[in-house]
Amino acid sequence: MSVYVLRRLLTAVPTVLGAATIIFLIIHLIPGDPVLVILQEHFSRESYDAVKGRLGLDRPLYARYLAFLGNAARGNLGQSFRTKRPVAENIADMFPFTAQLAVAGFLVSLAIGLPMGAVAALHRGRLADVAAMGGALLGVCTPSFWLGVLLILLFSVHLAWLPASGAGEFNDPASLLRHLILPAVTVGLQGAALQARITRSAVLEALGQDYVRTARAKGLSPGVVLRRHALRNALIPVVTVAGMDMARLLGGTTVVEIVFSRPGIGKILVDAITTRDYPQIQGILMVYITLIVAINIVVDLLYAAVDPRVTYA
């Protein structure tokens, strides 16, 4: 197993490097001049030259690329064009909020999606199945920004139970949770819909297997058959989708962050793209790529934990 992990980590390096190069090139090919964005109404030849020089944009592209690689190898993601603060610092400020939301949304999607899918599978063709899959379809089709606004109207404005914006106080876990509930439900419900559908398919397949027939023949209750036999074996596709969902959540919370005015990586990435803040864009995308590669490795390792037939030499 450790050899496998080492091999995966080594192959991750060229993956990340290749992705970093492609990102660098694409970013610099996007039309739009970051100097003009910074100057706006203060445009003048003197200001343009000064800002362009400060941002290092007067150097040739290959020189900037080599500088970027060299700095990245030392863990230095550069300095944001707009804030002049280290990109790593900007990301470190925001990442905890995105991670909070992604993890919470992930838990919501599992907490709702897995049981919903299992119930649907157990009651295939009956009302519970129709209701569960109808709910899943609704969840997949509902735009997150619309759902978020509805939740704000109901729980923040009319009921005044939960705050509409912000992320809470660091030294007050209750405040953090209160600010997390609505965004996490918004983000999690879409993932729950997908989880429910995948879980239903996987459980149905498992329920059709000989070992389940044997377990039923032994007189085990349906609940025990589901929990100890069918679910465990249905987990491989579920784990795969869960991993993809986690990656989606880490990169896809931007709309929810904006609706709830929550800080997060997604928002600063959108701002960075809008303002052509190249180092900020590169830094955030590098973090995303690294996380996605790591998540894929973890998912592969989880297969071995879930299914003893899977081994890694």
Partner: protein, 517 residues
């Protein structure tokens, strides 16, 4: 694993992971922010649209940077609240301008303390602040604002003299009293280096206390402030992005004071019984550049026709929901040099006659604009206005950075934008002087260079005003740009907020604000 696996306590299997996850969630948020001290005295929560990016005056970019910098720092002079042309003393207690308009001599206030123990303010700080922006290595966006400065001299610790290469009557209002004019402490800037952008040191009425990234910036009253810092002990600038959420925040008390830009939300806020509001004329002007280098727009009759075709009142009423006035000039009415004279009314028949006279039939214009504020909505109405007189128009909407590049690339026939400046020179020189082609003079207009240059150096205010009036009349004839509307914005507040006023540059008179308990 055996199908019959070992027996386990089901309760602990459910509870333990849940508790671990809860701790993880809370722990993920522990990014080292300091706990807020319990407030003593009145506190105000002001809504801002985005996080402060940079608190170094040489690099402030956004409205939020500006709003915060103006209460943390001071300049030699400052704009009177609510005005963009009247100035009053700040770090300078009096000043003289030489008869030729080239030398500004300031007598400085004594005993002014820098925040957080950085010593006493002297003339050396003024010289450093200005020369730092003029230095190309600083890479300041305001470097061009000081292009006319020849040198800065100190005369002891409490007098400073600024020598200009030529007279520049707008120097006090548009440079020293505005964003480029904020004074910094040399020791703080050099000691803190890159960290300075996140820990500013000024002489203003409020001290930067802390920033919770992405959520808020907290300022505390400066106990050593030389002027009236007011009754507020602490001010929090809270980030609430969309205007609809700002309205909710005001209603629920999550914010107490908010600037609202979206006309739809402005109307809703104004109808709220439990909120108060003030309507403020902004310094923004919506306008259309016409590319004079392309046919048929090079024909003045065609441009005049477009001006007759444009229904500015309809845009003000329907797109801006009544929260705007039709514009007659690219200068905003708040700006020195503005003339109220208007030569155009909405007259499609007159527009068609002019187009026929110019021999134009079936013309098509490509309008470029950005997907911000109300520009796309306006473009839709403008398209219908022009269609009614026989000019077809394609609307090309770009994100902001791309729009700037496209306009610079001259592919547009028309370009719809909004500008906000505080002096006529800041409109005319960059937008209409031939040296500013192709950007920001996206019209490629070259006919009033002499008048613009003369107005720029006219030391006598009456002569300057007269020159701007002549420029305005010339622009009414030539129509290189089509003024559209002047928007208003709304400052909304909860009933407990007393004395709040906002300037058209979105700065707050914190010294006059109190909270009714």
């Amino acid at each position: 694993m055996s199908p019959c696996g070992p027996a386990r306590n089901p309760a602990s299997r459910r509870i333990v992971p849940f508790v671990v996850m809860l701790a993880l969630l809370a722990g993920l948020g522990a990014a080292g922010a300091r706990a807020a001290a319990a407030p003593a005295g009145q506190e105000l929560m002001i809504r801002v649209v985005r996080d402060v990016l940079n608190m170094d005056p040489a690099h402030i970019t956004t409205t939020e940077d500006h709003s915060l910098a103006f209460v943390v720092y001071s300049g030699l002079v400052k704009l009177k609240t609510g005005s963009i042309s009247e100035i009053e003393p700040d770090l300078a207690i009096r000043w003289e301008i030489s008869p030729d308009g080239r030398v500004y001599t300031f007598q400085l206030r004594r005993g002014v303390k820098w925040q957080k123990g950085y010593g006493t303010f002297t003339a050396a700080d003024v010289k450093y602040s200005i020369e730092r922006i003029m230095d190309r290595r600083t890479g300041s966006r305001f470097r061009g604002d000081y292009a006319l400065v020849d040198r800065v001299e100190t005369d002891g610790d409490y007098a400073v003299r600024i020598h200009l290469r030529q007279p520049f009557p707008a120097f006090l209002t548009s440079v020293l009293a505005y964003r480029p004019g904020l004074i910094v402490n040399q020791r703080a800037v050099t000691e803190k280096g890159e960290a300075y952008v996140s820990d500013p040191i000024g002489t203003g009425p409020f001290v930067f206390e802390r920033r919770v990234p992405g959520q808020r910036m907290v300022l505390a009253r400066n106990p050593d402030y030389y002027g009236n810092a007011g009754r507020l002990a602490r001010v929090t600038f809270k980030i609430i992005m969309p205007d609809p959420l700002a309205e909710i925040a005001l209603r629920t008390g999550e914010a107490q004071l908010a600037y609202i830009d979206d006309p739809e939300i402005q109307r809703r806020v104004m109808r709220q019984q439990n909120l108060r509001h003030e309507i403020i004329d902004s310094i923004r002007t919506y306008m259309i550049y016409v590319h004079l280098g392309k046919k048929p727009w090079s024909d003045v009759r065609v441009r005049q026709a477009l001006m007759y075709a444009l229904d500015r009142q309809a845009i003000a009423t329907h797109v801006m929901r009544g929260m705007a006035k039709p514009a007659n000039s690219i200068l905003n009415p708040n700006v020195f040099g503005y003339s109220a004279e208007d030569a155009y009314r909405h007259d499609p028949q007159r527009a068609r006659a002019l187009l026929a006279e110019a021999g134009v039939r079936g013309a098509r214009a490509e309008l470029y604009t950005a997907n911000i504020i109300k520009l796309p909505d306006m473009a839709a109405v403008i398209k219908e206005n022009f269609k009614a007189v026989g000019v077809e128009m394609g609307i090309n909407i770009f994100e902001f950075a791309l729009w700037m590049q496209q306009t610079r690339g001259e592919r547009h026939d028309l370009s719809l934008t909004a500008n906000a400046r505080i002096d006529a020179d800041q409109y005319y020189f960059p937008l209409l002087h031939s040296s500013a082609r192709p950007y920001p003079n996206a019209s490629h207009y070259m006919a009033i260079d002499r008048e613009i240059e003369a107005a720029r150096v006219a030391v006598n205010p009456a002569a300057r005003r007269d020159l701007y009036a002549r420029i305005h009349r010339k622009l009414l004839e030539d129509v290189p740009m089509l003024p559209v509307v002047y928007p208003r914005f709304v400052m909304a507040m909860r009933p407990e907020v007393q004395g709040a006023k906002m300037g058209p540059t979105i700065t707050y008179n914190l010294a006059d604000i109190s909270i009714k308990q």
